[in-house]
């Protein structure tokens, strides 16, 4: 498997050749309307979709890493409960106070904070900003041949809102009582009454800041979503018809709609919970609560389930927000590295749309055990089953796309291929969860944890890595080291599975989530399975998780090193067909020297009877092409 086989180090000859197509980052200012800008205008408050995309990407990766670090702490507590955290134990105590870490031992509150914030940060500050905002911002306008987003200023505002939200989330670690402890789901009443001790400060406490931060994050996502949809609708280049859009653009389009329509109900719920915490309302507090043996003096008359409905109304679409961009990236990488068109492009697009549509009417499958009658549960079980079909279609289409290809295994392709079975495992294990009779047993166990981590961690994160390696040359004009890419890939793949496979076993034993003691207090966790008892499995898992951390070092170094010192490449190093590869790398303000015109579909690889095995979307049709397409249309292919 020759790594750099497909890597053209000489610039290709695109329809619109350009002199300064070297990777020198200072070229990215050949704006048509203005010249040298001060640094802060160019990189801090820029309205250029590429800069904003990169801002999102870097911040997202850092948050991702931060969320990962939180989890590595949790893994210590799970593997060696109640033992002093080595090396950084005292440091943590000084940072977060003895309420969180006492003599190097983490407290239950702190563990819950870590869990909740790990989930929140990974999803809302890690994956969404990277997979949706970063790649979306950088790639989509380029792929549809647009000069920028429709509303550049709103785009900038979106990033700034995200940034503020993120900062608020971080601050919340350092307020009295620590960050939010109610899980990323913030179920009420727990979330409403948390921190409400005698020293309760209505604003400076973890849960309230979590809510405030969320309002910013939601605003950011909404602004982004509006921008994406409008851009894709309005700014497609001449000839870029809907059915010529790269699948990645379709994925982003559906994702944007999910955010646009699913986030607002959560925003309303967040506002209500905020009212509950600061204005003394009781939207989510029923009458007659007795906390710590003392009756709670609130008006009552609220409903805890109301929160769950509004949260999961976002919650489920959100999970497809996490996976769809990943699928989009994988689609691009696979098509490019199998050197053949994606199989069943139409059905892929259709499946993505159906997926988006259905994801709005399945949310109660997270609430099977809240006392749901047979009618409603039958409805939601059915919709949940149906929604798994489009996923099967998408994944199967990817698998079949491999057939007949000439697969080159460069780093992006390695991550993309790994994505398929990993998502497969995660997705398939969603099926038993979808039957609420089976979920009776599996609910809230590590089986659920394993289910979704298989999708988001070795799934989405791998897709993200694939995307980073794939579009890095476009953003910088240089590419990341193939060798270190492999050093990054294989350990990551192995660790991911060592981490998450055993969690299925733990879940089947009945070990539950959010257990501070990792199951040591429980007989059911003492049962042996495959040689180790349920809680003994925590140790290998944790070790793998830390090794995973080490495995990221090559990536981080490779990433930053390559920005300046990576091997220079031409504007189309992967010999890809989509429009972004016709723009100079890095593309200037305004992207294209000559606004491209599109003549053909996105994945015209290995067209018979050509000297190159790829044909750019912007390459005019020859007569032979025309005949070929007509023949194909007649034969009903494409």
């Amino acid at each position: 498997m020759d790594a750099s086989s497909g890597l053209a180090t000489q610039p290709e000859h695109p329809p619109t050749p350009r002199s300064g197509a070297t990777g020198d980052p200072h070229h990215d200012d050949h704006g048509h309307d203005h010249h040298e800008l001060p640094f802060w205008r160019k990189y801090i408050i820029s309205t250029d979709h590429k800069v904003i995309g990169i801002q999102y990407g870097i911040s997202g990766l850092i948050f991702l890493f931060f969320g990962f670090s939180l989890m590595m702490l949790m893994r210590w507590q799970l593997a060696y409960p109640g033992q002093t955290i080595p090396v950084i134990g005292n440091l943590l105590e000084r940072m977060f106070g003895s309420g969180a870490v006492d003599k190097g031992v983490m407290s239950p509150e702190f563990y819950n904070s870590l869990g909740a914030m790990h989930g929140t940060i990974m999803i809302f500050l890690g994956i969404v900003p990277i997979a949706f905002a970063a790649f979306g911002n950088f790639v989509v306008p380029l792929q549809i041949g647009a000069p920028d987003m429709t509303y550049p200023k709103i785009n900038m505002a979106s990033y700034q809102a995200f940034f503020v939200g993120g900062v608020i989330m971080l601050i919340s670690f350092f307020v009295p009582g620590g960050a939010a402890k109610g899980g990323w789901t913030s179920y009420t009443p727990l979330a409403v009454i948390s921190d409400k001790g005698p020293t309760y400060d209505p604003f400076w406490n973890g849960q309230t800041l979590w809510l405030v931060g969320f309002i910013f994050l939601i605003t950011s996502s909404l602004l982004g979503a509006v921008n994406f949809i409008a851009t894709i609708i309005q700014l497609r280049a001449k000839g870029m018809t809907w059915m010529r859009l790269p699948f990645f653009v379709w994925a982003q389009f559906v994702t944007a709609f999910l955010l646009l329509l699913a986030f607002p109900p959560l925003e309303s719920a967040v506002v209500m919970q905020l009212m509950d915490r600061v204005a003394g309302t009781s939207f989510f507090l029923p009458s007659g609560l007795v906390v710590n043996g003392a009756p709670l003096h609130v008006s009552g008359g609220g409903s805890p389930l109301l929160w769950q409905h509004l949260f999961w109304f976002l919650g489920h679409p959100e999970v497809y927000v996490l996976i769809l961009p990943g699928m989009g990236i994988v689609a691009e990488v696979i098509a490019n590295n199998t050197r053949k068109p994606l199989w069943g492009y139409k059905s892929l697009v259709f499946a993505a749309l159906v997926l988006g549509f259905l994801s709005f009417i399945v949310w109660a499958h997270h609430m099977w055990l809240t006392g749901m009658g047979s009618v409603v549960s039958a409805f939601f079980q059915t919709t949940t089953m149906i929604i798994s079909i489009p996923s099967v279609i998408i994944l199967s289409a990817f698998f079949i796309s491999l057939w007949g290809g000439s697969i080159r295994f460069n780093t992006p392709m390695l991550f993309a291929t790994a994505f398929l079975p990993m998502f497969g495992i995660g997705g398939l294990t969603g099926i038993p969860l979808a039957f609420n009779s089976a979920d009776l047993y599996l609910h809230d166990t590590y089986y659920v944890i394993a289910h979704f981590h298989y999708i988001v961690a070795p799934g989405t994160i791998f897709a993200v890595f694939a995307g980073v390696y794939f579009w890095f040359p476009k953003a910088t004009g240089r590419r990341m080291s193939e060798f270190w890419g492999r050093v990054h890939f294989w350990p990551s793949l192995i660790c991911m599975n060592v981490i998450f496979l055993p969690m299925f076993l733990q879940g089947m034993l009945g070990m539950h989530r959010r257990w501070y003691d990792g199951g040591h207090g429980w007989n059911l966790a003492g049962e042996k399975v495959w040689g180790l008892s349920g809680f003994e499995w925590n140790t290998p898992i944790s070790i793998a998780a830390w090794t995973m951390g080490l495995a990221q070092i090559p990536f981080i170094i490779n990433f930053f090193w390559s920005i300046k010192h990576g091997e220079k490449v031409g504007i189309n190093p992967w010999q890809a067909t989509t429009l972004e590869w016709t723009a100079p790398s890095p593309p200037p303000h305004g992207n294209f020297d000559v606004t491209p015109t599109v003549y053909r579909g996105p994945y015209e690889y290995s067209l018979p009877g050509r000297e190159t095995d790829f044909t750019m979307q912007s390459e005019p049709l020859t007569d032979s092409d025309r005949k070929a397409y007509e023949a194909a249309a007649a034969a009903g292919v494409h």
Binding site: G31, H32, D33, P147, D148, T150, Y151, P152, I154, L222, A225, V226, N227, I229, A230, I233, Q234, L235, L260, L261, A262, F263, P264, P265, L266, E267, S268, A269, V271, M272, M275, A279, G280, T281, S282, F283, H297, V298, S299, G301, G302, S303, L306, H309, L310, F313, H589, G590, N591
Partner: protein
Amino acid sequence: MEIPYTVTARPDTGLWNAKVGIWLFLASEVMLFGGLFSAYVFLRLDADPGLWPHGLLNVPVGTMNTAILIASSVTVVLAWAALKMRRYRAYWWYMLITILCGVIFLVVKLAYEWPQKFDHFGAFIKPDKLEKYEQYLGNHHLAERGLPPRSEISGHLHNKEALNDPNAKEYEIALDPVNADPANPNMDRPHFLYVPPTDKLAAIEKEDVERISSFGPWHSAYFASYFTITGLHGAHVLGGVLIFIYMWLPVSKRLYRQNPEHLANRVEVAGLFWHFVDLVWIFVFPLFYLL
């Protein structure tokens, strides 16, 4: 670098960018208020029958505000029409009226309606003490009429200091008509004109009171949703007013000179937002004031 279709419509969609954007934004707004309203429905269905507060708001004022918002909606379209017909002066006047309407709406809400609620108190009597206050609650009559019992005695709290004074023994409340004359069936019906508390004083012992609170958001699920939804709506009104002020200031004249169609588009977009705010109020008004 020029972004296409900011003023002229894209041929195949027939729309200019901002038009697409505002409608997408409004779609998300629909979901936002949809969430709040579904919460309202959810809580109201959950509430024990008959105990959902009723007729506590000032209907004439609410009606007036509704009329004002509708009027402002009219003036916004007229302003836009004026621009289309290139009558800047008319546009300027219509815009001014719109802004004034918005401001009046907000003032009425924040300076009149809300404060009125905050110094109106209700005391919830403990279940086992209800009998003692029968003269104010009239639960026997309610029972005869097949209505659920009530536990709240409301009105003007004379001795506010009693609220957080530990050795104060009782609350003095100037009763609302409902409690002043509980046996009278047409007292617990909402009245079109706001009926002030009577001068009939009631002394209520503190330890008989489960909870006493002003008619603020903490009073009940009803007021919680009332304040949250009208608050959020008010925020939208404020936003709209600010945008309109910007479009009304001289800067707009400059844009008008360069490219009147562009200004017209902006006004149309802002107007769409304003109409939506109006539209939300059209549902808020009956749900909270009338039902």
